[in-house]
């Protein structure tokens, strides 16, 4: 098969991949919002068109100017840059437009460099001029440097939206210089004597000193600029070229030691290096600070999974600088492990062709040049890919051909032009080679590195993926909430409390009954989740209660969980309304529950807040001294003081004086020393001896007086509406426990009966740190013919009459036959 046909087919294959990529990107808004009524994305097709033109142009000229150009080098480089270009378009269309212009310019530069200089030996002759001009340009950034983003290291020269980073072409110039120098100075090898020379001869002073000085000079400029990533890349490139030229593995070992040593020094003396190394070694310690980038990067990889979310369907814009340093991660999120392996394989193929060009080069300068360029492309790729996946410390360098950046793309294309030229003259006899080991070892290192990176992607997607995606700092969860209906929260009579409603193109969470905010909580992209929204999240988000197949399918297609399930609570909205009206602006809590089943009918906590306005009030709420976010009924810890006495008397009798141990054992039986177990965040029991209780705990404890001495298991969630089986009851998480003999409970209830009323009432005042609290408990008598009820009121002030009024009014409302039958249809 002839080469033109071959390269035409390679062009067709890569163009069809990119066309499909563009097509999916066009359709992606429709999938994301699950309707055709959305504007589709078209702008990136411009980039695709320019890419095709550039590719055809480069192919035409390479075939005309070179005798037999390597089709894989050109195909691989254009494939990578096309994929990168479309990814940049997908991430930031304005940068995509700029990168398209850069691609056109870089292609023109490539075509030019295919022809000029006519003879590559010219590069060899003017090696010092070449390197010094590069150094001068880089040194200029020390004076005239700027940063397009306004802050950070000033590595660019330019202005008016056109910036240029001289350290990029400096890489190329350094490689040319080193190749030229070593080619001229290394001892000439004869055809027959291929014995390894001794080290002293090879690393002789004249050989090592000038290159070390020139490399050191470049390093120095980069270090002053604080461009540490590029500096370490330079050091590595230098030692690998030296290794290639001499074939001595010692060179690499020494470089490794130097790098490790300077990292150690830097760790103790430079803040930047310390931060980078810390973020690398212990990223989980500081996920929102120093290691924010790397954690977001890993989350993106995990979200990609095996198949990827599809172009335009992931959320890679969450990763900082996704268009340049982290572009690999953005690609993995949207094409998955499959795409990552394809990309890595192409990088590997490109490097292999580069080394092949080196081996077949007609003279030693061209051989070292091709080898050096391959080293530059390979090492830079491996450094940044490893950094993205936390296999290496993060270095702020670009992925050649792929990342956004004009200077980077231009440099990569010029390197490509040189490789194409060197690789095309293979009909000529290759220059003699004394030792092939260094080339074989280098290829092995590259492939091993790429393989490790593929394994790393597999590790973060398959092994660690599920755990990473469930992290609460994964912003993709709240993005999914915008496009997938979250389950509603209903009261016991199916009245909506909190629903998700489609407003325009996205879902919004509406809290229809804001006074319940401390109990229901909220779900918010910035403030996270609280209350029942947090504890019931798996049902509301559809992760629990849906068939696994449905979960898998939704994740495959949309990358989101399926629509959420509705949850029915035990609360009764009409009674809740009464309770909230009674409590009004006072700070306090009310709990009303069914003493037999433990179902909580009313739970009020005041002061409250409006979760619909969390965007504006959020920061203020967290520091509000009145603590409106706290659910006082379940999370509040109050001193019970004499409020325990009625229960103690009921158990031990009016005159007995139980020992501390007996007392404690009984209170523990009443559940006052442990947190009640129900789908609600509750106060953790105090460890020290001073007992603190929540109104909910007291309500459950007092319920035993109305329930013939049995402590009910608290419930606030009744059922969940599954697609397969309809409403499924969620049983109580605790077991009811008998704590009092039935007749003792009966006696106690009758003792505190309110005259001529069917209920008992006890109350107490307690005080702590000059703060007063009023406790009140009421309950139906054990012989009450209908549903037994217990009620606890707590006020954060000393006001017994108010507590009594609240309690009696609420009890009265609850026991009114008409309302009651409406309120409790199940009984």
């Amino acid at each position: 098969m002839n080469t033109p046909l071959r390269s035409r087919r390679l062009f067709g294959a890569s163009a069809s991949f990119l066309a499909l990529f563009s097509l999916i990107l066009t359709l992606s808004p429709a999938v994301r919002e699950r309707t055709w009524e959305v504007p589709l994305r078209w702008d990136h097709w411009f980039g695709f068109g320019v890419w095709i033109l550039c590719y055809l142009l480069a192919q035409r000229f390479s075939r005309r100017l070179l005798s037999d150009p390597d089709p894989y080098l050109l195909a691989g480089a254009f494939f990578l840059s096309g994929w990168g270009l479309l990814t940049v378009w997908r991430l930031e269309p304005t940068f995509g437009a700029r990168q398209t212009v850069w691609l056109a310019i870089a292609t023109l530069a490539l075509v030019f460099a295919l022809r000029y200089p006519r003879n590559l030996a010219l590069l060899q002759r003017y090696k010092y001029l070449i390197l010094l001009s590069g150094l001068l340009l880089t040194a200029l950034t020390l004076i005239l440097g700027s940063n397009p983003s306004g802050a950070g290291p000033r590595l660019w020269i330019g202005g008016a939206n056109l910036y240029f980073q001289p350290s990029e072409p400096l890489k190329l110039l350094l490689v040319i210089y080193l190749a030229a120098y070593f080619a001229g100075r290394l001892p000439v090898e004869t055809f027959e004597s291929q014995r390894a020379r001794n080290l002293r001869q090879i690393l002789s002073i004249p050989l090592i000193i000038p290159t070390a000085i020139m490399t050191g000079l470049s390093l120095l400029i980069l270090l002053i600029q604080r461009d540490l990533g590029t500096a370490s890349l330079f050091l590595l490139v230098y030692s690998f070229i030296l290794f290639l030229a001499t074939g001595k593995r010692r060179v690499l070992i020494v470089t490794g030691l130097v790098l490790a040593f300077s990292a150690l020094i830097g760790y103790f003396f430079t803040e930047v290096i310390q931060a980078r190394l810390q973020a690398w070694l212990n990223p989980w310690d500081d996920p929102s600070g120093r290691s924010y980038q790397i954690i977001q990067s890993l989350l993106a990889v995990a979200n990609g999974g095996v198949f990827g979310r599809g172009p335009g369907l992931g959320a890679p814009r969450l990763v900082p600088v996704a268009i340049s340093d982290f572009i690999f991660v953005a690609m993995v999120e949207e094409t998955g492990l499959i795409g990552a392996v394809g990309l890595l394989a192409w990088i590997g193929l490109l490097l292999a062709r580069g080394l092949r060009a080196a081996l077949l080069a007609p003279d030693r300068f061209q051989r070292l040049l091709a080898g050096g360029l391959t080293i530059y492309l390979g090492l830079q790729s491996l450094l940044i890919l490893g950094g993205n996946l936390r296999l290496l410390p993060l270095t702020g360098i670009t992925l050649p051909f792929v990342s956004y950046g004009g200077s980077s793309l231009m440099t990569a294309f010029l390197a490509l032009a040189l490789l194409l030229r060197i690789g095309s003259d293979i009909e000529e006899e290759p220059a003699p080679l004394s030792n092939h080991r260094s080339y074989t070892l280098l290829a092995g290192l590259f492939f091993l590195g790429l393989f490790t990176i593929a394994l790393g992607v597999g590790w973060w997607t398959i092994v660690r993926g599920p755990a990473l995606l469930a992290r609460t700092d994964n912003p993709r969860r709240s993005i999914a909430d915008r496009y997938v209906r979250r389950g509603s929260l209903l009261d016991r009579n199916h009245q909506p409390i909190t629903v998700s409603e489609r407003q325009g193109r996205e879902y919004t969470r509406l809290y229809l009954y804001p006074d319940l905010a401390p109990i229901i909580g909220y779900t918010h992209p910035i403030y996270g989740q609280a209350g029942l929204e947090a504890t019931l999240d798996n049902y509301l988000r559809g992760l629990q209660g849906n068939p696994t197949r449905l979960l898998w399918w939704n994740f495959l297609i949309y990358g989101t969980p399926p629509p959420g399930l509705d949850v029915r609570l035990s609360l009764d909205l009409s009674l809740q309304r009464t309770a909230d009206r009674l409590l009004g602006a006072r700070a306090g809590a009310i709990v009303l529950l069914n003493a037999q089943s433990g179902e909580i009918l009313v739970m009020a906590s005041h002061p409250t807040y409006d979760p619909n306005l969390l965007d504006e009030t959020g920061p203020r709420l967290q520091t509000d001294p009145n603590a409106p976010l706290l659910n006082r009924a379940a999370q509040g810890s109050y001193p019970p003081a004499s409020f325990l006495d009625p229960l103690l008397i009921a158990h031990f009798g009016p005159d007995a004086s139980p020992s501390a141990d007996q007392r404690r054992a009984f209170l523990d039986q009443l559940g006052l020393y442990r947190a009640p177990n129900l789908h609600l965040p509750v106060a953790q029991p105090a460890r020290h001896d001073t007992l603190r209780v929540s109104p909910l705990q007291m309500a459950l404890a007092y319920a035993c007086l109305s329930n013939r001495g049995t402590l009910p298991a608290g419930r606030i969630v009744l059922a969940v509406n599954t697609p397969a089986q309809g409403w499924v009851i969620l049983p109580a998480l605790d077991q009811p426990r008998p704590v009092l003999e039935a007749d003792k409970a009966q006696q106690a209830a009758e003792q505190w009966q309110v005259p001529d009323r069917p209920f008992w009432r006890v109350s107490a005042l307690s005080q702590e740190n000059r703060r007063s609290f009023t406790w009140l408990a009421m309950g139906t008598l054990p012989n009450w013919q209908s549903v037994p009820l217990t009620l606890v009121v707590l006020l954060e002030e000393s006001n017994l009459p108010l507590a009594t009024w609240i309690g009696e009014t609420l009890m009265h409302e609850t026991l009114r036959p008409r309302l009651f039958s409406q309120a409790l249809p199940n009984h």
Partner: protein, 156 residues
Amino acid sequence: MSDILVLVLRLAMAIALYAFLGWALLLLWKDLQERGIALVTRRALPLELLVHQPNSSTTRRAFYQRELLIGRDPTCDISLQDETVSARHARISYHHGQWWLEDLGSTNGTQLNRLRLDTPTVLTSGDEIECGRVALVVSIGIPTDTSPTVRLSNSS
């Protein structure tokens, strides 16, 4: 509806990616194969040797391969039955566009134009090689038994 369509497209995209990769690898393999075949069939300039053995007649032989071994061993390309010739005496090989002569550490040495050979040396037509008592005269690039050159018509 859009979701299924895009799912199919994503599948097609993954297939295209690997088709591209697979295609490239297949072409590389074919390339390797072709190069191998090309190397095998690549022809050197034909070499003709006139062999004078002391107690035997002079023979003329033409060679088309790229490497010849001279020696007493019967597996050698030029097998010389003479006690002054070592088992593997010398090698004539074609590389860098030249025919080279190289002594393989023979007991009695190899002489080229009456000079003892110690490094590989380029051969030209008319050179006289002596392996022990055997003399060989080289002529390069003269096809001996091919048909005369004809002018090809344009139609071919």
